[in-house]
């Protein structure tokens, strides 16, 4: 009985090998998360289908994998379970974790020197900061964003400010914020000057303060952090002062989700949020609005955010070659432009902005250019080994300072100590 079973099984195995040899098609699985509304998932599936049509020898399946954190879990589970996708778009900040788990390989081995120079070199350098480490390229930028400042031109006009000028630096943001903060007769605020969401993952927008202050939170090897740098303390003190001292921002922790709504409803005259919101604001703001780079202190600055392509280890060389070819195709100018226009993500290479499609789009809607122009000043999103724990320590410190439980200095000293303990094995 058992012998029979074995025979059938081996026969089946031989049959599978034989069919695999007869057709030369390469099968690829590609996981993607969706964090913007509308037709993002449809766009990816369309692009994938287009590629399959042009390359009949590659059989590529795009698999929707939920939010960024769901996708990360799905990809890691599949990789640990011995059945990883060949490609996945995951958060750029997951790079160190994926290396640590030993489930991804760098793209470099599957590229010629020429491709390395032309192709890898063609991405905006600030996007590559989260994509390279130790001289290797592990991530290819795809759905990337950066935070910007949105302002309500009508509220500016009503407050006697120039509706065409956003605050250029920290002091101006406080001054303008004071003019924009309106109270009713009983002293309740009806319109705040500015809104910087801080609930959940405060570190990201906070990098829009710490970077202009002149601090870099983590090194590119992902094993050292500078959480209690005096410049970081200064940035956190400024954030806390916006509510406590200047009274231009709602006190306490501020949610992300309802932020665009609060902006549309006139509860705040300025908001900081990701460029991913551009299409949403464009469609739903009942007033004229402007988009500007985040205000400067010592310099201009902001983090980047979003997802990269990763190449998974456990696959054949043919699959990897095909996967790299697909990534090259989907980040090429025409495809990148289609993707960027559909979602609001920043096309990651300068060439995409030179296409006819993109030129027509930005001529019609110039705010789409602000985020791209800000890339010149942008830095890597906070990412280290043990990223979840390290970021959590930092988030806790920010939350404690925002809630007024600790001074900025105390909170950040504590976060630094915690992070150093966590990162010790990686130094």
């Amino acid at each position: 009985m058992f012998a029979n079973l074995l025979k059938t099984a081996s026969a089946a195995a031989i049959a599978t090998v034989a069919t695999a040899h007869m057709s030369f098609a390469v099968d690829l699985e590609f996981y993607f998360p969706v964090a913007v509304g509308g037709a993002a998932a449809d766009t990816i599936e369309q692009l994938t289908a287009e590629y399959s049509e042009a390359n009949p020898d590659v059989n590529i399946t795009a698999i929707y994998a939920g939010s960024y954190s769901d996708a990360g879990q799905k990809a890691l589970t599949a990789a640990r379970g011995g059945n990883p996708p060949q490609l996945s778009v995951l958060l750029s900040t997951q790079m160190f974790a994926l290396i640590d788990e030993d489930v991804i390989v760098p793209f470099d081995d599957y590229l010629s020197d020429e491709e390395k120079a032309d192709w890898i070199g063609g991405f905006y350098p600030s996007f590559m900061e989260n994509s390279q480490t130790g001289g290797n390229t592990y991530g290819i930028p795809f759905q990337r964003s950066t935070p910007v400042l949105y302002w309500n031109k009508e509220a500016f006009k009503a407050a006697g400010l120039d509706p065409e000028t956003a605050p250029a630096n920290w002091d101006e943001m406080v001054e303008m914020g004071k003019a924009l903060t309106l109270k009713d007769d009983s002293g309740n605020v009806t319109q705040w000057g500015v809104r910087i969401p801080s609930a959940g993952f405060p570190y990201w927008l906070f990098q829009g303060l710490s970077t202009p202050a002149g601090a870099i939170l983590a090194n590119s090897d992902g094993n050292k952090v500078n959480f209690n740098d005096p410049k970081v303390v200064e940035a956190l003190e400024y954030l806390v002062a916006l509510s406590k001292e200047h009274g231009v921002m709602q006190p306490g922790s501020i949610e992300w989700g309802p932020t665009p709504k609060a902006f549309f409803e006139g509860e705040t005259a300025m908001m900081w949020t990701t460029t991913g919101n551009l299409t949403n604001v464009r469609n739903n703001a009942p007033f004229d609005f402007g988009v500007a780079m985040l205000p400067a202190k010592e310099r201009r600055g902001a983090p980047t955010g979003g997802g990269n392509f990763y190449l998974f280890k456990d696959s054949t060389d043919e699959q990897k070659d095909a996967a790299v070819d697909f990534v090259q195709w989907i980040t090429a100018p025409e495809q990148a432009a289609t993707w960027s226009i559909a979602t609001g993500y920043i096309a990651p290479r300068a060439e995409a902005w030179e296409t006819e499609k993109m030129k027509a789009y930005t001529a019609d809607f110039p705010p789409a250019l602000v985020a791209r122009d800000q890339l010149e000043f942008a830095v890597a999103e906070l990412s280290t080994f043990e990223n979840g724990k390290v970021t959590q320590a930092f988030n806790d410190a920010l939350a404690a300072a925002i809630a007024g439980e600790m001074s900025a200095k105390e909170a950040l000293d504590e976060a630094q100590a915690k992070a150093e303990r966590i990162l010790k094995p990686y130094q």
């Binding site: 969706v34 509308g38 939920g66 769901d70 640990r80 379970g81 709504k261 949403n280």
Partner: protein, 268 residues
């Protein structure tokens, strides 16, 4: 006395309203245009547009079918397996019974999330990745079900069992004619808990499935959790009502039976 009662009634009403608020908000936003998400106007225009939009953003008809197949399959398999196991644990003596029952109980202490990677590996070896079977299989041998049914079977008077045996009934006949009819409330209560759990389960189905043909409703719903571009409560709530609707309606229809069976089965 009447003062006490009035206080009780008020408290009950307040709790009920408190419980009802999120649902009321969901219904309000789902049937009104997006401008009224955070504004309450009694005569705001009603609309079904949110449902139309939600329905068009994911293949919900297919997802409904998948979820129905999934929950019926799981509950049928759990009933069969748990009944047989519980009967054995309740009425037979065999070597290693205590140890085996302890092993079953141990499963209650383990969070299913810990086993995700191991389960994935097993499904992968069985060649079941991306099938509805793979979503349900890890949950079929439910320790909770076995434990609950065993406790219920233990309360069945031995005399009924003996009488049936004297009449020449086989073991399976006794199980079918004596034990199962007496445990009906427990089956109903357990079935409801199981259905609602698997109706709502999200992470495991997302991980183990890859295609529209196998994914359940919850995965379809997740497409609206779009943190990067601002959340549209009206569309999300329309989709949520749509997907939880069948369960809500079933609960309202069978509410009395459910509550009674919960009381009798001792699940709180």
């Amino acid at each position: 006395m009447s003062y006490d009662r009035a206080l009780n009634t008020t408290a009950a009403w307040m709790l009920a309203m408190f419980w009802l608020l999120p649902l009321a908000y969901a219904v309000w936003t789902a049937f009104h245009p997006a401008e009224f998400e955070t504004r309450f106007e009694p005569f705001a225009p009603l609309t079904l547009q949110n449902f139309v939009q939600a329905w068009s953003e994911a293949p919900f008809a297919r997802y409904f079918l998948n979820t129905m197949i999934l929950v019926t399959g799981i509950v049928a398999a759990q009933f069969t397996l748990c009944t047989l196991a519980a009967f054995a644990f309740a009425r037979f003596t065999f070597r290693g019974k205590g140890l085996m029952f302890a092993l079953v109980l141990m499963q209650l202490l383990i969070m299913p999330d810990i086993l995700i990677v191991e389960n994935y590996r097993t499904m992968s070896q069985l060649g079941l990745i991306d099938t509805i079977t793979a979503i349900g299989l890890p949950y079929v041998a439910s320790a909770f079900g076995i434990f609950l049914l065993r406790q219920t079977f233990m309360t069945v008077p031995k005399e009924l069992d003996d009488a049936a045996r004297v009449e020449g009934c086989s073991y399976l006949g006794i199980l079918w004619r004596v034990y199962i009819p007496l445990a009906k409330p427990t089956f109903l209560a357990y079935g409801l808990v199981s259905v609602s759990h698997h109706w709502n389960n999200f992470v495991w189905p997302l991980i183990v499935t890859n295609s529209v043909e196998t994914r359940p409703l919850t995965v379809g719903l997740s497409i609206f959790a779009v943190t990067d571009s601002g959340i549209q409560w009206s569309v999300i709530n329309a989709a949520t009502l749509m997907t939880s609707g069948p369960l809500l309606i079933a609960f309202l229809l069978f509410q009395r039976q459910f509550v009674q069976s919960f009381m009798r089965a001792g699940i709180k």
